[in-house]
């Protein structure tokens, strides 16, 4: 256990999943990945009291029938047939919100404890989007499995890529170079599309209609290019294990034009007094909190954590992560804005330097196991797959939102209740991705 604790003290958890007898912890320390297997039967020692980042992971295992011995507050995460006790605060007023919210948004339940208008505590209860996705995977071949994996969060390309890479590595194969470039181009377009959505949502939430419309317009045009490249408006059915299915032709000069337009527009929008007034110093997540709770993606980078998995990918030349220190809504908006331009640069780079060769190689049905991680728009996507006879024997996936949801609980503390939608939108997390 000492080695496990040391890894968690220096790094952060990537995944914790049950595997027959015991559990497997994957942790990132520096840029290395360490794998630990511990526990006996269905019991394992809880780490949540010492490492709050482990809390939701252990609760997720608890409801799957594993016992984290000594967990301070075991309650279900996705199952609603088990009793759930919200924390009660005497003398504070309780405001329950959801699962159905006011906007067009996925369902979740938020329990605010407020003093006047100030939020003293927020407890998030999710699980409304639980569809039993992970349980459906065993026994599936690569194509049927990918259908599910593409629905594991609202970033289908990142999930499909991590899953396909894990499968390929399990069989000791690689996708051909042309497919690799096309996959990354699509991933970057997905990132830009997602980020612009977060920004448009933020502008809408503060009533800055001009900003929302302008960003929304370019976003819609960009989606057209993703559609052209992949044949789908969100990039489903594009990736396959072993490569890609097709090769569409996005309009490169249009992409370059959108990039230029955004480069002019975004800095101007983010300096608008209305934006500064509503977004600065609001919803702060501090760096120590981001590190202790293991946040990933733009959430972590806006709080000063300089980690982006693309740093480890040689295809990205000398990659520089976008980092801000403020940790507030504005910092996250700035990270989205700058990463959008960066993503479009990389998309253009990959599409103009397409290696020759086939789009895929057929993989023989084989056996093996491997894990892979991909930097999605929202952060780290993880997939582990064990293949037996060309079918999934065990698959575990983690959407970045699972790692980041608690950032919202921290960000709204001490803020006024009306700032909640703004804080929520600044993370714009996937509910379905959490509820696998």
């Amino acid at each position: 256990m000492d080695a496990v604790k040391e890894a968690l003290r220096e790094g952060r958890p990537v995944a914790l999943f049950p595997d027959g007898e015991g559990v497997v912890l994957v942790a990132e320390v520096g840029r290395d990945v360490r794998v630990f297997r511990f526990g006996e039967g269905r019991r394992f020692p809880s780490l949540a009291a010492e490492f709050p980042a482990m809390d939701w992971w252990e609760r997720a295992l608890w409801e799957r029938g594993y016992t984290p011995e000594g967990h301070p507050d075991p309650k279900p995460l996705r199952r609603h047939d088990l009793p759930y006790a919200f924390r009660e605060f005497k003398e504070l007023h309780e405001v329950p919100v959801g699962p159905v919210h006011a906007g067009i948004i996925e369902p979740g339940h938020f329990r605010f404890s407020v003093l006047g208008e100030r939020i003293v505590n927020l407890e998030i209860r999710l699980g409304y989007q639980h569809r039993g996705l992970l349980a459906l995977l065993p026994g599936k071949g690569p194509e049927a499995a990918l259908l599910l994996v593409e629905r594991a969060g609202s970033e289908p390309l990142a999930h499909a890529l991590a899953f396909a890479q894990a499968w390929e590595e399990a069989l000791g194969r690689k996708a051909p170079p042309r497919a690799q470039a096309l996959r990354r181009a699509a991933l970057e377009l997905e990132r830009a599309f997602g980020h612009l959505g977060h920004l448009a949502g933020l502008f809408t939430d503060i009533g800055y209609a001009y900003g929302a419309t302008q960003v929304g317009r370019i976003r819609a045009l960009l989606q057209g290019e993703l559609d052209r490249l992949t044949g789908h408006r969100y990039g489903r059915n594009f990736l396959r294990v072993g490569g890609v299915w097709r090769e569409g032709r996005p309009d490169l000069s249009a992409l370059a034009l959108y990039r230029e337009e955004l480069a002019r527009l975004l800095p101007r929008l983010l300096k608008h007094p209305q934006v500064l007034d509503r977004m600065r110093y609001v919803g702060v997540v501090r760096r120590v909190e981001a590190e202790a709770l293991g946040f990933v993606g733009p959430t972590a980078r806006a709080s000063g954590v300089a980690r982006d998995l693309r740093q480890d990918d040689p295809a990205y030349l000398s990659f520089q992560p976008v980092v801000r220190q403020g940790g507030d809504v504005l910092a996250r908006a700035q990270v989205y804005a700058e990463e959008t331009l960066q993503a479009l640069d990389y998309a253009l780079h990959f599409l103009t330097h397409l290696p020759e060769g086939p789009l895929a190689q057929d993989l023989p049905p084989g056996d093996g196991e491997a894990m892979a991680r991909v930097e999605a728009g929202r952060g780290e996507v993880f997939w582990f797959v064990r293949v037996a006879g060309g079918e999934v024997a065990l698959a575990e996936g983690v959407d970045p939102s699972f790692k980041n949801w608690r950032a919202l609980e921290l960000a709204v503390r001490g803020e006024g209740l009306p700032d909640f939608p703004l804080c929520n939108k600044s993370f714009d997390l996937s509910y379905a991705g959490n509820d696998l």
Partner: protein, 262 residues
């Protein structure tokens, strides 16, 4: 909103005719070609479709559009047996109209007869919708939101999305309906005043889609509340959603009958 901006948005809005077309680079909805359905082609189609959209029942061969994820592999591999429909006028008032059935002996499509008309009490000049996401991955929700953007501009048809079910004329529901959302969906429906309609948006909302059979989902909106209009797609493009709303309001005629555009 400034006048300048309104003018700019006005220039962006696309004619409905354009919105209802599947763009050239994308695959439309698959369409069986009865004459090409040899024994061998049937076997191939049953084997290659990742979502199990094809089926064979006795002397009938069929394709369920509500199961198809639109990957295009069938038409690419077997062009003699599968063509494509490049239109988004695919919303229907009864589920059978999403299923193509070919009588293999006669080599013709089975015709289930004229579809039921939309409900006249919902033929209103404006309709307010409350959206409920019930196990959707977020993409069908996103398409509903984008149906309101300046390009699609559902507002010009008198449609709007409202925050409260009490202000709504109808619900748009996405997702296979997770077990954990069934009660919330039922209660949201009850909160909508009469007369009220329900539109199931996307394959998962129609009968569970790729999640059909999971013990954690109910498997379709109509198992929880009555559905008036089904919009197939994975997710349906905004144009298809708009057509579904127009169908609910009785302003267009249903075109997909027995899975074939007529």
């Amino acid at each position: 909103m400034s006048l300048m901006q309104t003018l700019r948005i006005g220039r962006l809005a696309r004619p409905l005719e354009d919105l209802l077309r599947v763009p050239d680079h994308a695959f439309g909805y698959p369409l069986l070609r009865p004459e090409g359905l040899t024994e061998e082609a049937q076997e191939a189609l049953l084997g290659l479709c990742p979502s199990g959209a094809f089926f064979r029942e006795g002397r009938t061969f069929g394709l369920d559009l509500a199961r198809c994820v639109g990957c295009g592999r069938c038409a690419l591999a077997r062009p003699e047996a599968v063509g494509e429909m490049k239109r988004l006028e695919v919303a229907v008032t009864r589920k059978e109209d999403l299923v193509q059935r070919v009588d293999l002996e006669r080599g013709t499509f089975l015709d289930p007869g004229p579809p039921p008309p939309p409900r006249p009490e919902l033929a209103l000049p404006t309709l307010a919708f409350r959206e409920v996401s019930a196990g959707d991955t977020g993409l069908a929700d996103s398409e509903v939101a984008l149906a309101g953007n300046p390009f699609n501009d559902m507002g010009r048809f008198g449609f709007s999305v409202v925050a409260s079910p009490r202000h709504a004329d109808a619900l748009l529901v996405t997702g296979p309906v997770s077990r954990n959302m069934a009660e919330a969906l039922r209660r949201t429906y009850e909160a909508v005043p009469e007369p009220k309609g329900v539109v199931a948006v996307g394959n998962e909302a129609i009968s569970g889609g790729v999640f059909a059979g999971s013990p954690e989902v109910v498997g379709g909106v109509d198992r929880v509340v009555p559905v008036d209009v089904y919009v197939p797609g994975d997710p349906p493009r905004p144009g298809a959603i708009l057509f579904g709303l127009l169908l609910l309001a009785g302003r267009v005629r249903q075109r997909l009958v027995g899975g074939v555009l007529r």
